[in-house]
Amino acid sequence: MIDHRDALETLLSWLSPDKDQAGQIYERLRRKLIEMFARRGVPTLFWHELADETLDRIGRKLAEGETIHNPEPMAYAFGVSQFVLSEFWRRQRRRVGSETQLDDLSSRDLIEIAAKDGLREERQEKELRLECMDAALKTLQPEDESLMRACHHDDLCQQTANRRQAAERLNWEENSLRVHLHRIRLTLQRKVRACIERRQRNL
């Protein structure tokens, strides 16, 4: 029986003989898997689980000595992810029965309570997100923060016609500006997500 650690070790050495590089490829592959599962409509809760299941499955296959004919790890991982995804949807369909069981408990009162709770939670989540966004914006480099503000003001950087002019006005090359704004946004997203998770754990 191959344990999780062996599977991971084998997978990493398959991705690259260089440990650091293997780690980077692994992280990148995991991000792609998560993004793909998100785009395919998988509920948030399962994105990481399915990505890890995919990676674990590949690692186990390798550790068991199975020959992988596809020389391109990313393409092979994509193939495995499709199996994991279709198995996931099959499992979800089987659970429809138990979903109904929970819904059976719903009386009119319960639905009202749930709706009120839902609204309250949504409001709380929104407030939390805004607080975290505020904190995240403050951690940006001052020039990045003012670039974001300048760009968002009057939707300056939003449309191509404007974007070209905006880039000129801000003394940037148009494509560099797009990429730079995208990177700032990725940083913000990562910080806001971490802040929300931290605050929810402490609730």
Binding site: R28, L29, K32, E35, A38, R39, R40, G41, V42, P43, T44, L45, W47, E72, M74, A75, A77, F78, Q82, S98, L102, L105, S107, L110, I113, A114, E121, E125, K126, R129, L130, M133, D134, L137, E143, S146, L147, M148, R149, A150, H152, H153, D155, Q158, Q159, T160, A161, R163, L170, N171, W172, R178, V179, H182, R185, L186, V192, R201, N202, L203
Partner: protein, 307 residues
């Protein structure tokens, strides 16, 4: 729509994000971005721009509709939109700083200076450094004092909290010793006198089901129910039944974590004329480990007052 004059490749990305591509093309696109890091990064960038355009109402009617039908229908899409809306709200709260040209800071600082100006600047810097050193020493001293004051205040606040807990225990009878310590103080319930029950799972039918004697003026129960699983998204449903089997109430609540590990859920049920008898409660939720629904039974008894 003009879609910002996107090129062919970008239009394909937008098609993928909006679910416009046929299934085989969609899979083919995904295969490509799995093997091509640049395409993956580019897809993420176009996704952000698309979401921003939606939040700013820049999409034409057809794209807007597709966005809502496909992208927004996924939990991932909803999260992206929630993020973009929050970003927009925060950035709109303040006026933008004037756009600065992208020149080197050093060049901006020293580019136009002459040598005498450099000398003057160096002398000023030296004075500033001396002043800064003094400030650092003062700051350390103040920090030390502040830390001791904080420690004193924390000790005082802990003491106050303990006193509040003791007072709460005196006003609401707790039939079993508290195993559940909330992470933060509970808000006081005004004009309510509640029976408080802290119950572990699987007490239904067993002899250690907690009990309390009937008291006058009690108008509800506070249940702290320890869970033997972690609910998905910490959501669960608590249901309470009266001794005659009638449902007193149902509440959808969020579970909280116990300091020693594990989870509990707290529910307050207001009831006029609390009758003696055995009350049964259940907590229903999905177990995060296997996504299966779990229903945990609990019970407690309110005994008649001694004659």
């Amino acid at each position: 729509m003009n879609f910002w004059n996107y090129n062919q490749s970008e239009r394909e990305t937008v098609g993928y994000l909006l679910g416009d591509l046929p299934e085989d093309k969609m899979t083919e696109f995904e295969m490509r971005y799995f093997s091509d890091d640049e395409l993956f990064d580019h897809m993420l960038m176009v996704k952000h721009e698309l979401v921003d355009a939606y939040v700013r109402r820049h999409l034409d009617a057809e794209t807007h509709e597709k966005f809502e039908r496909h992208f927004l229908a996924t939990p991932g899409g909803q999260q992206e939109v929630a993020f973009a809306s929050a970003l927009r709200e925060k950035l709109n709260q303040t006026q933008p700083a004037p756009a600065k040209p992208q020149t080197s800071r050093w060049l901006k600082l020293f580019g136009a200076w002459s040598w005498p100006e450099f000398g003057l600047a160096a002398a000023t810097l030296l004075l500033v450094a001396i002043g800064f050193g003094w400030l650092v020493i003062q700051n350390r001293k103040l920090n030390h004092e502040l830390a001791s004051a904080r420690a004193e205040r924390e000790a005082e606040s802990k003491q106050n909290e303990q006193l509040r807990e003791t007072l709460a225990q005196l006003t609401a009878p707790t039939p079993t010793p508290s195993i559940i310590a909330p992470q933060q103080p509970e808000p006081p319930i005004q004009n309510d006198r509640l029976y408080a029950f802290n119950i572990r799972p699987n007490t239904k039918g067993s002899s250690d089901s907690p009990t309390a004697k009937t008291e006058t003026g009690m108008n509800g129960v506070r249940l702290k129910l320890e869970l033997n699983f972690k609910p998905v998204e910490l959501r669960c449903l608590v249901e309470l039944k009266a001794p005659n089997g009638a449902t007193i109430g149902r509440q959808r609540l969020r579970a909280r974590s116990l300091p020693q590990g594990g989870y509990y859920v707290q529910a307050d049920f207001r009831m006029e004329n609390l009758k003696a008898g055995k009350y049964e409660a259940t907590v229903t939720g999905r177990d995060v480990d296997d996504n299966q629904q779990r229903t945990i039974p609990y019970s407690f008894t309110i005994e008649p007052k001694d004659q």
